[in-house]
């Protein structure tokens, strides 16, 4: 506690001296990074202060209280940074971490492929070493914000003659080069939040290989674990209450940054079913008086309450230093799927035939329709329900794996014809 008090005093003194809403966003974040307040939970050697999660949370809370813009962290930036911190070379840390924190570099995640979705380790994007550069050929998909990204974390195959998990390598890949084509991918809910990325003789310097050749799967596991923990976060205010009315250059630039960063995620709350709308709509339409709808609504609220509480204790556990985050993330993600389906069911019951309509004139200015057409994504994106259940069964319940059909050299494994 004393410790926290000291931090609080030091932080506020620093902020008093350095903070001004008239900074440009990059100017301000440069100060933040130099002052060690951009990512205080990171190691001292890399812009941080080795803070505990509790100490970091205090800093975050103080920023929020004073309405101060923090380091850039939206989207895949955080995945890249944490992965680089865990597995990167000194050189990589020096080159990549700072522009991530200042927001100068945007990142995207180049993992999934048309032929390998659930089976991420079945990636068949090809990386071949020619001199000191790897030449990359292949196709990635579900790449959020690829068209804004400067770099991508890329999983590609460097060896086809070893078992599939052993032939992958992980690269820090420059998106701003010829040989990279980004095409938007439209979804059934009419949004186009994702992209396809085509790489044709693109290249990456061998010093941007991370974790060593053939170690890509191990590195990717870190990224995936971080991703599962935060799969549903989407804060339109970036954590700052009343951001839309704050005055100053730094706020203007921050709002612009958020707008781009969050644009692909506007439908994410709908994807999760919007439990928050269920009760108000049931009240407003009178459906709350229908005994059957009451039951279905009560089931929804119960699951949501349970999931919220379970998530809170998972967070508490993880703050307390436990390392069992990954299956907890799977439980939360699976809960989100079940809840979203039940929410869609309740919204349909409440809407009646109005559920046939969409657009601004329809229920909740089209939000209900967007829910009904978006919930199918929650049980797919970021690892399908089926994959989450495998993880829960194997890691929480310690049930044995199925017999595998994909051992032996990757070259010999049966896969989708387009991959071959």
């Amino acid at each position: 506690m004393d410790d926290l008090m000291t931090i609080n005093v030091e932080l506020n003194a620093w902020l008093d001296q350095n903070w001004s809403p008239d900074h440009s966003l990059v100017e301000w974040r440069d100060l933040l990074v130099d002052g060690g307040w951009a990512a205080p939970g990171w190691p001292r050697a890399y812009f941080g202060r080795d803070f505990s999660p509790e100490q970091s949370a205090l800093v975050e809370a103080e920023f929020a209280r004073r309405g101060i813009v923090g380091a850039a962290q939206s989207g895949p930036r955080r995945l890249a940074a944490e992965t680089i911190l865990a597995h990167g070379s000194e050189d990589q840390k020096q080159r990549y971490l700072r522009p991530i924190l200042t927001g100068q570099d945007a990142w995207c995640q180049l993992f999934s492929e048309p032929g390998s979705g659930s089976d991420l380790a079945g990636s068949s994007t090809r990386a071949e070493l020619h001199g000191d550069r790897y030449v990359i050929n292949g196709q990635k998909v579900w790449t959020t914000s690829a068209h804004h990204a400067d770099f991508g974390i890329l999983l590609a195959r460097t060896d086809w003659d070893v078992p599939k998990h052993q032939g992958l390598s992980y690269f820090l890949f420059n998106m701003r080069q010829s040989g990279v084509e980004v095409r938007p991918l439209r979804q059934m809910n009419a949004h186009a939040s994702f992209n396809e990325v085509f790489m044709t003789d693109a290249s990456v310097d061998s010093r941007d290989l991370i974790g060593g050749e053939g170690n890509g799967w191990r590195v990717a596991a870190t990224t995936l674990s971080i991703e599962r923990q935060g799969f549903s976060r989407s804060r339109p205010d970036g954590g700052l209450k009343g951001l839309s009315s704050l005055q100053g250059r730094v706020y203007d630039e921050y709002r612009a940054e958020l707008l781009i960063a969050l644009e692909p995620y506007t439908w994410y709350p709908q994807r999760a079913g919007r439990t928050d709308l269920a009760l108000p709509r049931a009240r407003q339409t009178g459906a709350i008086n229908d005994p059957h709808i009451r039951q279905e609504l009560a089931k929804l609220l119960s699951m949501q309450q349970g999931a919220d509480l379970a998530a809170a204790s998972a967070t508490a556990l993880s703050r307390a230093g436990s390392n069992t985050v990954s299956p907890q993330g799977s439980i939360g993600k699976l809960a989100a799927s079940v809840i979203a389906r039940q929410a869609a069911h309740v919204h349909t019951l409440v809407a009646g035939t109005d559920a046939m309509l969409s657009g601004a004139a329809s229920a909740e200015a089209g939000v209900i329709a967007e829910i009904l057409l978006s919930v199918p994504a929650i049980s797919i994106a970021g690892g399908t329900d089926e994959i989450q259940k495998n993880i829960i069964a194997e890691r929480v319940l310690e049930m044995p794996k199925e017999p595998r059909s994909d051992t032996g050299p990757f070259r010999a494994i049966a896969r989708n014809s387009a991959d071959k």
Partner: protein
């Protein structure tokens, strides 16, 4: 009483299936769903005048083919399978059945032949698509005062006046199917003497047709507003007629849904056999196999009840709640298959480019169209309570 098809019916299905497979490929569905009108006039002309499907269930005396609900169900299943875009349900089924059940003989002779050969596109205006038998609360018809002028208020002349075109409709219907292409509207409206069936021309002044944004662009809806719109009264609809109408529409829709559901099951399983993950086709994963088996079971039960419901409409044999039972079961199984169709394809199933979402949207829209499963189950239980025997 059996739900098996005889040879004639099986041959009829083959013809119908070939027609829709040829004429309603998914490329056509995608093209038409993006258009305002939403149907292909040439295909409609073939369907109506040439193949004769538009009037399949309309008696021969009214220009149709006189087939029964079983054959109509076969047509609907094949339409559902291919997502055929055209005003069949609005004109042939909804308007056709409404005329058969509610119009006077002379009006049937006048109006049904055009519907039967597809030359007239009609639709049915109900102000309550949740509960068809609650219609008439939003749309009201009154006889112009002038129509009475000069005649005694005696019952005979009253009746004569009732047949006249001097009616005016006022009110609104929030959801009207295929109004964007209908040339005539058959409207169910309340009068001082119960529900009446009215004819309104598309070009009537004071009729406002407002196309709506919909979740399923293969099923286009409009909102209609009536402000003293001139209408012709075609006949009367009592409670039994409205209940029968609801039954008939529900059963055809149920057939359409099981056709779509079957297509989803077939295409999804087919995809799973080709899609490799972890070195094997995903169709070999036990959890996915079991889900497909569950879906097959759900579909088989819904199919059996839906087909039985057609037999019931044809023969009046069996419990009278079969139509509502069928609508509820078909809705549920279609949604189950729609969800599974997306899920079992993974990410690709959620894309616009993949066709699955077309059926998903149809399933979602069909779930509530003409009453949700919940309402139909409630209706079914009410019927059980009303009848002496279970």
């Amino acid at each position: 009483m059996t739900t098996e098809f005889n040879d004639d019916q099986q041959q009829f299905r083959d013809v119908v299936k070939r027609f829709f497979t040829d004429k309603s490929p998914v490329s056509a569905v995608r093209r038409l769903m993006a258009e305002d009108g939403g149907y292909d006039a040439e295909v409609w002309q073939q369907l109506g005048a040439e193949v004769g499907l538009a009037g399949a269930h309309i008696p021969q005396v009214y220009g149709g083919y006189g087939f029964g609900p079983v054959e109509l169900g076969i047509i609907a299943e094949e339409m559902g399978r291919t997502l055929y875009c055209g005003p069949f349900f609005a004109s042939s089924v909804m308007a056709g059945y409404a005329l058969l059940g509610g119009a006077d003989e002379v009006c049937k002779h006048r109006l049904l032949p055009g519907i039967a050969d597809g030359s007239t596109i009609a639709t049915l205006v109900l102000d309550d698509l949740n509960q068809v038998d609650q219609s008439g609360r939003g749309l009201h018809g009154e006889l112009l005062a002038s129509a009475h002028t000069g005649s005694d208020a005696g019952s005979d002349s009253q009746q004569g006046a009732d047949r006249a075109t001097d009616w005016r409709l006022t009110g609104a219907a929030g959801l009207v199917l295929d109004a964007q292409v209908a040339s005539v509207f058959l409207c169910v409206a309340a009068t001082d003497n119960g529900l009446g069936l009215f004819l309104v021309g598309r070009d009537e002044p004071n009729l406002v047709i407002e196309p709506l944004e919909v979740i399923d662009p293969t099923r286009k809806l409009s909102r209609l507003q009536f402000n003293q719109v001139r209408a012709e009264k075609l006949g009367e609809l009592n409670g039994a007629a409205m209940a029968l109408l609801w039954d008939q529409l529900s059963v055809v829709l149920a057939h359409e849904m099981i056709g779509g559901a079957q297509m989803l099951l077939d295409s999804t399983v087919e995809y799973m056999k080709l899609r490799m993950q972890f070195g094997r086709p995903i169709a070999s994963f036990q959890a996915l196999k079991h889900r497909c088996a569950d879906l097959l079971l759900e579909l088989e039960l819904a199919k059996a009840v839906t087909r039985q419901a057609s037999h019931f409409l044809a023969s009046a044999e069996g419990p009278r709640y079969l139509p509502s039972m069928a609508k509820a079961m078909a809705s549920d199984t279609y949604m189950s298959l729609a969800r599974a169709g997306v899920q079992l394809r993974g990410g690709i199933g959620f894309t616009w480019e993949n066709d699955t979402h077309l059926w998903f949207k149809r399933a979602k829209s069909s779930e509530v169209f003409l009453g949700s499963p919940y309402l139909h189950r409630e209706r079914m239980m009410t019927m059980i309570q009303e009848s002496d025997c279970g």
